[in-house]
């Protein structure tokens, strides 16, 4: 549908994907746009592969992004970026946290953790690796990886800084706001734009 921006967030259960997608939705809504978002809860969240579909624009019908149509893939974990890369359109962009979390199939020796950068390059996916683990550590809070990635995403989306800040203010607990604002700004700088 014309005028709709599709952002697929992915990672593993417990990485703060819901917060990141809520901030993204909030920013779009504050910009006066129609918004839909979809994810699943329950068993899928127990450390499994998790996605959140965010769509915003003039009028949004489907809560799910169609494969091959996402403008942006926001991956909190490297392997998950590769797993969900087929949702990107040819001209789409993947922003990927450099974090590697071993799935149980790898921990138990049934499978090998793949070379994600090589895989993405071979497939021709346009991507930027964000050193978010190191940056989160420098900011003193390992939990802000999601906000660093959100900041990076903001550089590729046409939403004003004011709506991002307001969405963060409304979604992040007050005592964690300052570190999240700094994480957001650092992410925006690292986006490679």
């Amino acid at each position: 549908m014309q005028g709709v921006t599709d952002v697929l967030l992915c990672g593993t259960g417990g990485q703060g994907i819901l917060l990141a997608s809520e901030v993204l939705c909030g920013a779009a809504q504050l910009a006066g746009l129609d918004v839909k978002k979809s994810e699943v809860h329950g068993m899928a969240q127990r450390g499994g592969s998790v996605t959140s579909h965010v769509r915003f624009g003039g009028k949004v019908w489907s809560p799910l992004i169609e494969e091959g149509c996402a403008d942006l893939l926001l991956a909190m974990e490297k392997l998950e970026a590769l797993r969900w890369s087929h949702f990107l359109k040819k001209t789409g962009k993947a922003l990927i946290c450099d974090l590697e979390i071993m799935p149980m199939t790898v921990s138990t020796g049934q499978a090998q953790y793949p070379d994600v950068e090589k895989g993405l390059r071979e497939r021709g996916v346009d991507f930027v690796m964000i050193p978010a683990t190191q940056e989160a550590f420098a900011l003193g809070d390992s939990r802000v990886i999601n906000t660093i990635l959100t900041g990076a995403a903001s550089a590729y989306l046409t939403l004003g800084t004011d709506v991002w800040m307001e969405a963060l203010r409304r979604r992040v607990p007050p005592k964690a706001l300052e570190v999240n604002v700094r994480a957001f700004e650092r992410g925006r700088q690292l986006a490679g734009v």
Binding site: M1, G14, C25, G26, Q29, L30, G32, D34, V35, K36, K37, S38, E39, V40, H41, G42, M43, A44, R46, G47, G48, S49, V60, W61, S62, P63, L64, E66, E67, G68, C69, L79, E80, L82, R83, S85, H86, L88, K90, G92, I101, P103, M104, T105, V106, S107, T108, G109, Q110, A111, Q112, Y113, P114, G119, R123, G124, S142, A167, R170, R171
Partner: protein, 602 residues
């Protein structure tokens, strides 16, 4: 749900379907709500508990009890809501089918949250079929706004036609968020109780009249549906005419925007006048619906027209825009961008620090397994723990173990325990335990008591001592319940005390009388970890035996090149030292930090 995000323009709230249902209940004056948690329905009662104090809301031990209490409140003239996942409606089917005959005094809306795609379920049943079997009307929202509106409209239908109403959502309407226009609460007075046995006691003499009334009600609802505002014909110019309902409507609008559409929301009984008007002059007609060919078969049977649906759209799994596009307008599909990558699967796993890990690991150590049940601990089936043989439904672990013993005797009870969570035990394990003891079973039941309903995100239940709103409540004592059922051997053990866990398991598996082991340790979601402590590896001592890896802890992986485990410090849980305890060489060490617990169980 945090502080709602108001838009700068329009004043809408961004709500999930579940949050919208909670809001709709509040706006339409609902007085009482009861539920048992189950994905994807859980957040409805959670949102009511958190945001709408005007509604008396509670967790029931199971869906049957939830529906019975809302029925009673309706008899007293209150507007009521019950919510459950699709399989929860099976548990509540007994009151549902008779409540259909008895009807509603105060409006009754029953939310059935179906889970096509089985994101967190054991089957894909389509509860529109249940509604039809129970002869109660069913409403299907397409988005959060309709989810909100249909609570009030459903209560109106319930009161006008004297019937319970099923509001059937699917995962994508339950868990998708959309912008919703909200309004104030409409205060409705509780009508009060009037004794009327002829209406509320379905002995055959009375029930015959009730059934006749139900049949008249169906005919009246068919006519009502013709002018129901959310059943409508949308004009269009595309070659195919589309009949659709629920979230499938959104997919059709997305991928086939110019279609002539029959958008059905009251989908049983069907509004035959409206359907006939739509079919008049329609060319080729397709039905787009998730799950069973529910609309398709009824329309084809009635009009004997070649209406097609499931020929093009799968029955199994959930729909998405890609599937619907392929069925309606394959030529409009974009060029495929990237083929799906072949990457290792990432199945869900028990959390780092999970108390169930010690119990399952020890079960494997003593070469035993379990008949399992529904909850986080169903993940005990996953490698490397691999400690579960069967799972059927809520509470079945006990009956299945008992039945296996009837077939193969001690071959079953010598190497299997019935593994059931605390919340599931209260839900429907107690009757199984009574049967087990009463009918001479000798198997061991392992109640995995983590003090919460965990899989659905941490809800209170009657054995936690707190109610839905977190207030202190009566707490049933599991040991006493088991003894009252006739079990003489009841042992409580900390599942992370591995030597004792092993000793108790060996003893109880060997003894030929019914026994219960309660493995008691709080869910990690309830713990507030103290200082960050992670396991440390002494590489000099490590012999690469992979015994720690056999715990299946997500915080441990194995470096095959270096032949030693690697600890993921980001997720290693402070208050757990299982890996240090199982290491035969003392290569893994960890200072034990007990932290603190919301449930007050240190």
């Amino acid at each position: 749900m945090k502080e709602p995000l108001n838009t700068v323009t329009g004043g809408g709230l961004l709500l999930s379907g579940n949050e919208a249902i909670a809001r709709g209940a509040w706006e339409s004056g609902v007085h009482f709500a009861s539920a048992y948690p189950g994905t994807p329905s859980t957040e409805i009662l959670e949102a009511i508990g958190e945001h709408y104090p005007e509604i008396s809301a509670q967790w029931a031990p199971n869906e049957k009890v939830a529906l019975e209490t809302v029925a009673g409140a309706s008899f007293g003239g209150a507007r009521v809501l019950s919510a459950m996942k699709h399989v929860g409606l099976n548990v509540a089917a007994d009151p549902l089918f008779t409540l259909s005959y008895i009807g509603a005094t105060g409006g009754i809306v029953i939310v059935s949250a179906d889970d096509p795609g089985m994101h967190s379920s054991q089957n894909e049943q389509d509860n529109r079929l249940m509604a039809r079997a129970a002869k109660v009307p069913v409403l299907e929202p397409s988005d959060s706004q309709e989810a909100l509106d249909l609570v009030g409209l459903g209560l109106d239908i319930s009161e006008k036609f004297d019937t319970p109403v099923i509001l059937r959502t699917t995962t994508r309407t339950s868990h998708s968020m959309g912008v919703v226009q909200v309004g104030p609460r409409k205060e409705v007075a509780i009508g009060g109780y009037t004794r009327d046995p002829r209406r509320r006691i379905p002995i055959p003499a009375f029930a015959k009249a009730m059934h006749a009334r139900v049949e008249r009600r169906i005919a009246a609802l068919e006519e009502f549906g013709d002018s129901f505002p959310l059943n409508r014909i949308e004009k269009g110019t595309a070659p195919l005419s589309i009949v659709t309902s629920g979230v499938s409507y959104a997919y059709v609008k997305e991928v086939y925007p110019d279609a002539r559409i029959l958008k059905l929301t009251l989908t049983w009984p069907l509004p035959w006048g409206l359907v006939a008007r739509f079919l008049e002059g329609a060319g080729e007609v397709r039905v787009v619906e998730e799950g069973e060919p529910f609309l398709e078969e009824q329309i084809r049977a009635r009009f004997l027209l070649p209406v097609e649906g499931k020929k093009h759209i799968p029955v199994e799994g959930e729909l998405n825009p890609g599937i619907v596009r392929k069925a309606l307008a394959p030529a409009t599909a974009a060029e495929p961008s990237f083929a799906p990558a072949e990457v290792p699967l990432r199945p869900p796993a028990l959390c780092p620090g999970c108390p169930h890990r010690g119990a399952f690991w020890t079960l494997r150590k003593v070469k035993a397994s379990s008949t399992g049940d529904i909850g986080c601990y169903t993940l005990g089936l996953m490698a490397p723990l691999d400690a579960m043989d069967t799972t059927v439904c809520m509470g079945a672990s006990i009956g299945v173990l008992s039945g296996l013993e009837k077939a193969v005797g001690r071959e079953a009870t010598g190497r299997l325990v019935g593994a059931i969570g605390d919340s599931t035990f209260v839900h429907s394990g107690i009757t199984g335990l009574i049967d087990h003891v009463y009918n001479g079973g000798t198997g061991t039941i392992m109640i995995m008591d983590n003090g919460i309903t965990a899989m659905t995100g941490g809800q209170q239940h009657p054995a936690t001592g707190r109610n839905l709103r977190g207030e202190p409540a009566s707490k049933i004592d599991l040991e006493t319940v088991c003894r009252a059922c006739g079990v003489k051997r009841v042992t409580v053990v900390d599942p992370h005390d591995l030597p004792r866990m092993e000793k108790v398991l060996r003893e109880e598996l060997a003894v030929e009388e019914p026994s219960v082991i309660i493995t008691r340790r709080p869910c990690v979601m309830l713990r507030k970890p103290g200082k960050r402590v992670t396991a440390e590896l002494d590489r000099e001592k490590c012999i690469g035996c992979r015994r720690c890896i056999s715990l299946g802890c997500p915080a441990l992986s194995f470096d095959a090149g270096e032949k030693h485990p690697v600890v993921d410090r980001m997720i290693c849980f402070p208050e757990c030292r299982l890996c240090a305890d199982v290491c035969p060489k003392g290569a893994l060490t960890k200072d034990y930090d007990r932290g603190s617990c919301d449930a007050g169980c240190n």
